[in-house]
């Protein structure tokens, strides 16, 4: 009997652990000296830039909070900081129990929608002004034309490459897809890993697919398939899948990419074991400002835009990307006005500091004329200014369950477990079933 009780305890530990696990993740709080808040108004904030792993962002937020508290002596901002994954889990648990922090961080579109539908986020139309932000970024955080969060970051996705490796094999940054294939082939023939890719995370592979879809079918092809005015079985989308198959057969990607996380894959690039790495501009600090990375390596890194495809409809200034995270104010918050005021302050200050201090591209409009910006930033910011289109990451556009089908199909496509036709068909069925 004891055994049975014991085993059911063990079984249940799982179910219980699932729910409790979210609450017990490590928490840190900034500024211990603020413990005595007296009769100040307390605004609770949760963010996802721990001091250790996202130092640049952490410092900016911390500075802004300190400045804000100085200007508003009656307000006390209390922060709770979690890593990315724990953050996502905890926020769900908190919202299930109606205990969201006054200010927190959310992702755009599909991720945000359940929260808005559940009336968890306060509409921010009174503080978010369209013209302060790069066109389109606020839209990603809007439901029915009303913004429910204000964007902090904006990302486009270039291909970073190791100039030294390219020089060694007499290669140049490719402008057309044929040149790109040539680069891949040359590197593969010389036993250099052409591209590192951490496709265990799946959205990484999705970006490669999205670019090919964009260059072949133009920006509408994929978007239309997702918003149901088109189909995923569009020939251009199938052709993009065929190109992925081809790249896989050419050994374009690092060995075992389907089992590597993005961080592991990044290691290959940082250790100069792979020549190319496609990742959004949130990686820029590693190649420009981060003190942990050697200058020698930083100097070797260049970037190029995803090449154009011969006969394709997309042009080179069209990007995969989109706003990263944004700030929300909880609808349930008892200090909503203070929270909103703080959010608008934070966004504005963030815009001023993030490029210079952190090397993060803000969603607010940036003035590049002053300050000593790293040349790579200026280039990227200029590219951004000339962008003809920004396609939001596919998995963010879709609902969670359809995104899961998409991401699984991406992994299967990269792993050679499906055909381009089946790849398109499965996603078309999932998208069609949704509506």
């Amino acid at each position: 009997m004891k055994k049975k009780a014991f085993s059911s305890v063990m079984t249940l530990a799982l179910a219980g652990g699932l729910i409790l696990g979210g609450c017990s993740s490590s928490t840190g709080s900034s500024g211990d000296e603020k413990a005595s808040s007296g009769d100040k108004t307390v605004v609770k904030m949760m963010h996802l830039w721990p001091e250790g792993s996202s130092n640049a962002q952490y410092t900016i937020v911390d500075d802004i909070i300190n400045a804000y508290e100085k200007e508003h002596p009656d307000v006390d901002i209390q922060t709770e900081i979690l890593g990315n994954e724990q953050y996502k889990e905890k926020i769900k648990v908190l919202s299930a129990s109606n205990e969201l922090p006054d200010v927190g961080i959310t992702w755009a579109a599909g991720y945000m929608k359940p929260f808005v539908d559940g009336k968890m986020f306060a509409p921010l139309d009174d503080i978010a002004k369209e013209d302060n932000f790069v066109a389109g970024t606020l839209d990603a955080f809007s439901v029915d034309e009303k913004p429910y969060a204000v964007p902090l970051e904006l990302n486009i996705t270039p291909v970073y490459y190791n100039k030294e490796i390219f020089e060694k094999y007499n290669l140049e940054a490719p402008k057309t897809y044929d040149e790109f294939l040539n680069v891949v082939e040359t590197l593969a023939d010389n036993k250099v890993t052409p591209i590192t890719l951490g496709n265990k995370d799946r959205w990484t592979g999705s970006m490669w697919y999205m670019y090919l879809a964009d260059r072949i079918g133009g920006p509408e092809a994929l978007n239309n398939a997702i918003n149901r005015s088109g189909s995923f079985e569009d020939p251009a989308l199938v052709q993009a899948a065929e190109e992925i198959e081809k790249l896989v057969k050419m050994n374009a990607f690092v060995k075992g990419y389907n089992g590597l996380s993005n961080d592991e894959a990044k290691g290959y690039f940082m250790n100069e074991q792979a020549a190319m790495y496609m990742m959004a501009t949130w990686e820029l600090p590693n190649y420009t400002t981060t003190p942990d990375v050697s200058q020698e390596f930083k100097d070797k890194v260049g970037y190029f835009k995803f090449p154009t495809y011969e006969g394709g409809k997309g042009d080179i200034d069209s990007y995969v990307g989109g706003p990263g995270v944004g700030l929300f104010v909880s609808e349930q918050s008892k200090v909503k006005d203070e929270a909103k005021e703080f959010v608008s302050y934070l966004v504005e200050e963030w815009g001023k500091r993030s490029v210079v201090d952190a090397g993060v591209i803000p969603a607010t409009v940036v003035d590049t004329s002053n300050g000593e910006l790293h040349p790579m930033y200026i280039d990227i910011l200029n590219d951004l200014g000339n962008a003809t289109n920004l396609t939001l990451y596919a998995d963010v556009q879709m609902s969670a369950s359809v995104a899961d089908v998409h991401l699984n199909q991406i992994q299967a496509l990269f792993g050679g477990q499906t055909t381009p036709e089946k790849f398109a068909k499965t996603q078309e069925e999932a998208l069609a079933a949704e509506k």
Partner: protein
């Protein structure tokens, strides 16, 4: 004193705190998760009652049965590896040189957290720079496997660290049980001319058979609900190739916002685990457990 302890009210009073704890922390959550299984709920908004829909979907869900199959594979592997642990403990318990040191070495994995073990083995399995493939290359293997990225072998690759992880635990249990076998019996057997193999097979093993049953139960139920290494190392991928029941439940509930369905999976897992517990205790029931 005897009177007090046999007083029914006293018994009730004394068991009450523990009972309350178990009820609120264990049985009520079980009931709740069964109840959530009846809901369509994204974990954030309103719950909608949908009756048995989730459970009906569950029974027809191919992925659920695939993950159940994977969990059972793990259970079979873990149970089989009990034999290995037993052999090691038999060797360690017979007074060989350095058995003390060896015992400690086997115990070390137990001291590491699962996440650390996962990180460690992910490095070992790294297809280009990992130790596993470097070793294979040394022996002249050219097409080294891609381990966690290959759907054919990812699941089995994860079994290796799991079996390694629990070695210390089971060896410790067996070792303690073997040490409890009275020396006199073994001496007597030796005098009667039994070989050490005979002593192990005919005396030691029967004497610890009760422990063996417990460990089978632990291994099977533990495997069915196993989660952490798999979650960290592959997240159930690539493409569900290493998905087990618990990781599937987690994914549905937390990644896909299907809390209702996730709860239904959790309940299914509970039912399966309870059934297996019952089955094992039936199968291993023997009338004469040895007493000494």
């Amino acid at each position: 004193m005897k009177n007090v302890m046999s007083n029914k009210y006293v018994i009730a009073l004394y068991t009450l705190p523990a009972l309350l704890l178990i009820l609120t922390l264990i049985y009520i959550p079980i009931a709740l998760s069964g109840y959530y299984g009846l809901m369509d709920w994204d974990g954030i908004g309103e719950m909608t009652f949908i009756g048995l829909d989730n459970y009906i979907t569950l029974v027809q869900d191919k992925m659920f049965w695939t993950s159940t199959y994977h969990s059972f594979l793990l259970a079979i592997f873990s149970t089989a590896s009990l034999l290995l642990y037993l052999v090691i403990s038999l060797v360690l318990a017979s007074k060989i040189k350095g058995s003390d040191l060896l015992r400690k070495i086997y115990l070390i994995p137990m001291l590491l957290s699962s996440v650390a073990i996962a990180q460690l083995w992910m490095k070992i399995f790294d297809p280009t720079n990992g130790m596993a493939n470097k070793l294979l290359e040394m022996f002249g293997v050219e097409n080294t496997p891609i381990w966690l990225a290959d759907p054919e072998i990812a699941l089995y690759a994860i079994f290796i660290p799991i079996i390694w992880q629990f070695a210390g635990f089971y060896i410790l249990i067996y070792y303690a049980a073997l040490k409890n076998v009275p020396d006199e019996i073994i001496e007597a057997a030796k005098i009667d001319g039994a070989s050490s193999f005979q002593i192990a097979y005919k005396i030691k093993l029967p004497l610890i058979s009760g422990i063996f049953k417990v460990t089978i139960m632990l291994a099977v139920v533990g495997s069915l609900k196993y989660f952490d290494l798999i979650y960290v190392m592959t997240g159930g991928g690539p493409n569900g190739a290493s998905e087990v029941m618990a990781s599937y439940m987690y994914k549905e509930a937390f990644k896909l916002n299907n809390f209702g369905y996730g709860s239904a999976i959790g309940f299914g897992l509970l039912v399966i685990a309870l059934f297996m517990t019952w089955l094992i205790s039936k199968l291993t029931k023997s009338k004469d457990d040895v007493q000494f």
